[in-house]
Symmetry: C2
């Protein structure tokens, strides 16, 4: 078998008319969500520091940085947009592989859309194929690959970035296989980086490396054309027992984007059911924190291990604390970006309620489920069982939910009319003659001192 060539041929031969309507729509949902995440993350110091360090070496500044007024060369733009969209941990998730596909793939595709004339439909098409490539590679090495310490969104995302950029460059079967190979030999990213700026860097690096792979392949730079399946190729070197059949089985019949889910809350996915339960009880019983005596939460042992941070001191730690998540949902009635800030994690009221939370593990629950039980001051007990959290494949975020999430992330950054215009362009992307109209619409108006201070 020659999986690399088969996958390359599928991507290069694919026509827009082959893509089902539901998948086209899912691509728009993913891109809108991704733009919101990038807008929310683009002012982080991770981005500031990368820009400061690398700008002196940037080439022609043709490509938009989402949410910023500056431009960079397309390779640096792919890097920075990849960084930005991952910073808040608010991105989408391919539920089979736990890849966050939009981050690296969209970053490469957007950059390419500013390098050559690309229609909205072409961009969507390339994005769908990029997700297909990255997630199939991810499926073939999962779950052992991530468990071993590979940051799977980066190691597999580079294939998606190369495929999407390569499709927009018009690569044929042979050159697309080279692009896959050049991507494979750049695949990198360690989970040891979690908690540092390199976590997001992994994403940006995957985006720019994949874009580089496509550009080199277009110029007939050669690679192994068995980069995935060769004995010393990606799958065998980065996993012990890869399932190569995942790379090509039912290509064109199933679509990996169908497995894409979106986070309603910018924190560990295992906490989403806990937040849902707390919000539901708060609303149903018009709870205030004074009325709460004790909060008991049951979760799967693995979920508790991942998110059992008892005394978080930073927003980042709060994203992995079931105690913090329950407290803020009950106090504030929401769980957005401000609820996972350093400031909020240290608030006296939050700390007090956090102290009333008890979490216990329950092997009978699904990893993403939770049961929230609250004992009130008056002795009554109320309970909420959440088998599937909002944003799961079983209970997906609606288009309206995604719009609301976007506006929440973008609201501070733009006048209402501009934010709405971005949403409108995203939903009509397949009708745009020039895809880059959408990414350019994320450039904010000239910042006044006031709104800059408000944002920083």
């Amino acid at each position: 078998m020659n999986e690399t060539r088969i996958l390359a041929r599928f991507i290069s031969d694919s026509r827009w008319s082959d893509i089902p309507q539901t998948i086209r729509h899912e691509a728009k949902r993913a891109l809108l969500n991704g733009l919101g995440c990038a807008i929310g993350g683009c002012q982080d110091q991770t981005v500031d520091r990368a820009l400061a360090a690398l700008t002196p070496f940037s080439g022609p500044r043709n490509a938009t940085l989402v949410g910023l007024r500056e431009k960079r060369d397309i390779l640096n733009a792919a890097l920075v947009n990849g960084l930005s969209s991952n910073i808040l941990d608010f991105d989408d998730t391919h539920m089979k592989s736990i890849i966050h596909p939009t981050v690296p793939i969209a970053a490469a595709a957007w950059a390419m859309a500013e390098h050559r004339a690309v229609s909205g439909a072409e961009l969507l098409h390339a994005f769908v194929l990029g997700v297909e490539a990255a997630c199939r590679v991810g499926n073939s090495v999962s779950p052992e690959h991530y468990a071993a310490g590979w940051h799977i969104t980066a190691t597999c995302g580079v294939f998606g970035a190369a495929a999407a950029a390569g499709k927009l460059l018009g690569l044929n079967e042979r050159t697309m296989a080279s692009a896959m190979g050049i991507a494979a030999t750049q695949a990198s990213g360690l989970t040891a980086m979690m908690g540092s700026m390199c976590k997001s860097y992994n994403m940006g690096h995957a985006a720019s490396s994949g874009l580089t792979a496509a550009l080199l392949a277009k110029g007939n730079f050669t690679s192994s054309d068995q980069a995935l399946e060769a004995p010393r190729g990606f799958c065998h070197v980065l996993a012990h027992e890869p399932r190569l059949e995942e790379l090509t089985a039912r290509l064109g019949e199933t679509w990996e984007l169908a497995w894409n889910a979106y986070k309603p809350y910018p924190c560990g996915i295992v906490l989403h059911a806990v937040i849902d339960g707390c919000l539901e009880l708060r609303e149903k019983y018009a709870l205030t924190s004074e009325r709460v005596q004790r909060i008991d939460i049951r979760m799967h042992p693995l979920a508790l291990e991942l998110a059992g941070k008892a005394a978080p001191t930073t927003g980042l730690e709060g994203k992995l604390s079931v105690y913090h998540a329950a407290a803020i949902a009950l106090i504030r009635g929401k769980a957005g970006v401000p609820e996972f800030s350093d400031k909020c994690v240290r608030e006296a009221g939050v700390l007090a309620l956090r102290g009333k939370v008890r979490a216990t593990s329950d092997e009978t629950l699904h990893e993403a489920a939770a049961i929230v039980r609250i004992e009130l001051q008056d002795g009554r007990c109320i309970e909420c069982d959440v088998p599937h959290a909002t944003g799961s494949l079983e209970r997906p975020m609606s288009d309206a939910d995604l719009e609301a999430k976007f506006l929440q992330l973008a609201g501070d950054r733009y006048p209402a009319a501009q934010a709405s215009e971005i949403v409108r362009l995203a939903w009509s992307l397949e009708t745009l003659n020039d895809a880059s109209t959408l990414i350019r619409a994320t450039v904010p108006e000239l910042e006044t001192k006031e709104n800059k201070n408000a944002l920083r």
Copy 2:
């Protein structure tokens, strides 16, 4: 233990006066050899295609491409110089890890020397430390890492590039540890790429990624500071049983550059003893190919497996053919770059003599040894036993040998005076106020149509 921090501290604290005279001299030998290799490789289409694909995105063109008249931004220059110096397979080898250290490390250091004022001694110092970092990382994961399919010069070279560039940027212990971390999370390169342009790309990518790591770290971009030893860090993820003690044992007492060897012939190192033996017999007995009836070669089984290509059709395949190597040594009395060209591999006389070579495996021999036995037309048998090839640690190339090799590689490219000047500058590098004087000296005079045709 915190190996990353210990190694980072060693590099950032190191003073030039700590470096023994023999190691300083070895660094000059390595750099002279590396410049020759880059000059010999810089006109290959691998370089042409990379330049054509990536030049549209290059930033300010401040950095020299060895042997070429064009410049690029420092990141692209590191990439291209890394490519160039590996193309001929003529580079140096750290005999413990089989890393070719100079390729990625010098490429990053030279680029940095054109970014900020750096003396010759500072460049040599940074290079020595870069080799120390890369080779110690390599030692810690060898031999299983390469055997598993990792292109060790790239995966470990990125640490050396980051260390050398970081030393020239004046990183302290903390930021040097970040540079190591940013390097670790970019470490990549698969041996499946051997035989394609990506083999050399791996080297260039390691150089530019390491340089990027140093620049980001200088700008306080954060990383895990346990990137090497963490459970999900480089050593445990890219090897099953790393020996972390290799990272720090006897730091500052031993020097990895002492294990560096140089190739006298641009082909697989396991063929060097074969060539030595053939050349010796040819000279001693004034052999001509007509007098040869049959050639019997005994090699270690692994060597024969690596270099057993019976009917090579390209120069690249010739580099891994004991049959070709023996034939050209006996016919031409030398084994330089022209002897491993596509043309030479297809020559009728070479093919005829190749047909008289028999190679057998002999487990009692060292992997780098060979016994050559020739039966002459007159029935006589002559034999040469080569336990250690020229260029091995036991029989190192002398300074004069390295000069001759450089002039062989550079001779066509420069007037004699310019080639000699490069050699002179290399040997006096530690006295130069501006290290970049040396790399700039490799820029050829304006090419006339005649000499361009002669070279292409």
